[in-house]
Structure formats: structure tokens, C-alpha cells
């Protein structure tokens, strides 16, 4: 039974991480590429880590909580790193694709 749970969690996590990576390759410009890794991978990693937690809690003595902590850290750091990347992209005036709306909402640097 636990083997089934672990396998399903691993499959879900793996497919979300895969979709995030596909987004990274497939999207036409930097700003759109950023959407895959900031979101699709957080849930993917959470599933993988939950699978690890179930595995270690059932095969070893004691309950393993470090996976929960790791997912919390990922949840806290993913938006910050995404923010830093998009901020520096805006500072470098990176091109976005033509049909991007509301480009005039970007203010110039001081």
C-alpha cells in the first residue's frame, strides 16, 4: 500500500517538474519562461518530498520531518528568486514578444 502511495506521489511530482522544464524550453520570451519554474516546480518538489517523507517514515524508525521543512524553504524562496530574476530582466530592458500587452506600465529606471 505504502509503495503505491510513494509511486503515485513520485509520478505526480515528476510530471509537474517535467512540465515546468518544458515551459522553460518552449516559451518564446524570458518573462513567460519564468512562469514554469516559479509555479509548476513548487508543487512538483512538494510531491517528491512528501514521497521521500512517506518512504523514510515507513522504512526507518521515527518520523521524518525534514522534508516538510525543505518544502517550506522552497515555498519561501521560489517567489523571491523569481522576483529577483524578473527585476534584473526589467533593469536590462530585456525584449518581450510583440503581443505583450501593457508594456508602457514598465517605468524607467531612476
Amino acid at each position: 500500500m505504502t509503495e503505491w502511495i510513494i509511486s503515485i506521489l513520485l509520478l505526480i511530482g515528476g510530471s509537474f517538474v517535467l512540465v515546468g522544464s518544458i515551459g522553460l524550453v518552449k516559451m518564446p520570451d524570458f518573462y513567460m519562461r519564468l512562469h514554469g519554474p516559479t509555479k509548476a516546480t513548487t508543487l512538483g518538489m512538494a510531491s517528491l518530498l512528501t514521497a521521500a517523507m512517506v518512504f523514510f517514515s515507513t522504512t526507518q524508525a521515527g518520523f521524518s520531518v525534514k522534508e516538510i521543512l525543505i518544502s517550506l524553504f522552497l515555498l519561501l524562496t521560489a517567489p523571491v528568486s523569481g522576483y529577483m530574476m524578473i527585476k534584473s530582466a526589467i533593469h536590462h530592458k530585456l525584449e518581450s514578444i510583440e503581443r505583450t500587452q501593457g508594456k508602457d506600465n514598465i517605468e524607467d529606471d531612476v
Binding site: Y31, G36, K39, A40, G44, L69, G82, I86, Q101, I106
Partner: protein, 178 residues
């Protein structure tokens, strides 16, 4: 806006305790070596980071904060599925865009939390807070703040702004009472 520490060598006792516990939990052991290391970390990290800390509002409604956290976690799961569908769909159907969301929040901690939730929820990544912090002189308060977000598939700008303001900003305003 520096905070005066009560004890010089232990500026934030609760945070030190948290660091101590997190280190032991991460290593899953209570051996003497790890306890010594945890104590060192719990003392050094708050000392090194306390000069960067500024005064932040407190969470005044913990119950509401917990409910908001649950809502955000639920939204993260739906966001993942939605973005996965958008990513796997055809590229040229996507209409990306930049949107400026006017903010009612003024303090940096609630704005940071809002920006992070926006980044983790459906199809949006927060990009910038206007006006630039560099363009303000110390202590000056801007008339209005904006959050610039990048949207992967922009359909209705006003509806998106309303969703963000009602779903994520209003609870934060209530939690921090600002």
C-alpha cells in the same frame, strides 16, 4: 527604523530558538555535536542579520492568518495545474502582459507577502514595486504604490486586479490591521 535589541548578544530570542529547532529537525538527531552546532548557528545568524531588520507590523489576527494560508496553499495547487495546462497548450494562443496593481498596503512585510503569493498563484509573477525605493528620500512616503506583475495569459485586466485585491490583499490588510 532600527529596532533596539533588549539583549545585546541575543537580539531575537524566539528566532534563535526557531533556528536551533530547525537545525536539529533538519539533521534528525539530538547528538551533542549537532546541539553545539545548533547553538552556534542560533547565536551567530541573528547577530549577523539583526542590523538589516526594520520594524514590521505584527500579525494581529492569527486565526484569519491561518485561514488565509490555507486559501493560498489551495490556490497554489490549482495554480500549478492551470499553468501546466497553459504551458502544454499552443504558444501562440497565449497573450502575455504587464499589469499595474494599485496597492493599499504601505508596509514592506505585507507587500512582500502579497508579492510572493501573487508569484505563486495562477499565471502571475510579481515583477516590481513602484515607486522605486531608490527614488524616495529617507522617511518620505509615496502617494500611491503599485505592484507590477507579469501575466502569462491576460484576458481581462480589471477582473484580474479585482481578484488580487479582494482575494489576497484584503485579508492581509485585516491580518496586519494597516
Amino acid at each position: 527604523m532600527r529596532i533596539e535589541a533588549k539583549f545585546k548578544w541575543l537580539p531575537t530570542p524566539l528566532r534563535s530558538l526557531l533556528l536551533f529547532l530547525v537545525w536539529l529537525l533538519l539533521n534528525n538527531s539530538v547528538s551533542a555535536g549537532h546541539i553545539v552546532l545548533a547553538v552556534i548557528l542560533a547565536i551567530v545568524i541573528p547577530l549577523a542579520t539583526s542590523p538589516f531588520r526594520t520594524k514590521q507590523p505584527l500579525i494581529l489576527k492569527p486565526g484569519l492568518a491561518l485561514r488565509h494560508l490555507m486559501l493560498v496553499l489551495y490556490d497554489i495547487i490549482t495554480a500549478n495545474v492551470q499553468v501546466a495546462i497553459l504551458i502544454l497548450g499552443p504558444n501562440n494562443k497565449l497573450t502575455p502582459g504587464f499589469v499595474k496593481v494599485p496597492l493599499d498596503l504601505t508596509q514592506s512585510l505585507p507587500i512582500t507577502i502579497l508579492a510572493s503569493t501573487v508569484s505563486l498563484t495562477p499565471g502571475t509573477v510579481s515583477a516590481e514595486v513602484y515607486p522605486w525605493a531608490e527614488s524616495l528620500t529617507e522617511g518620505e512616503e509615496p502617494e500611491e504604490r503599485f505592484l507590477l506583475i507579469h501575466v502569462l495569459d491576460l484576458k481581462d485586466e480589471q477582473a484580474l486586479i479585482n481578484t488580487i485585491k479582494q482575494r489576497y490583499e484584503a485579508p492581509l490588510k485585516e491580518i496586519f490591521q494597516c
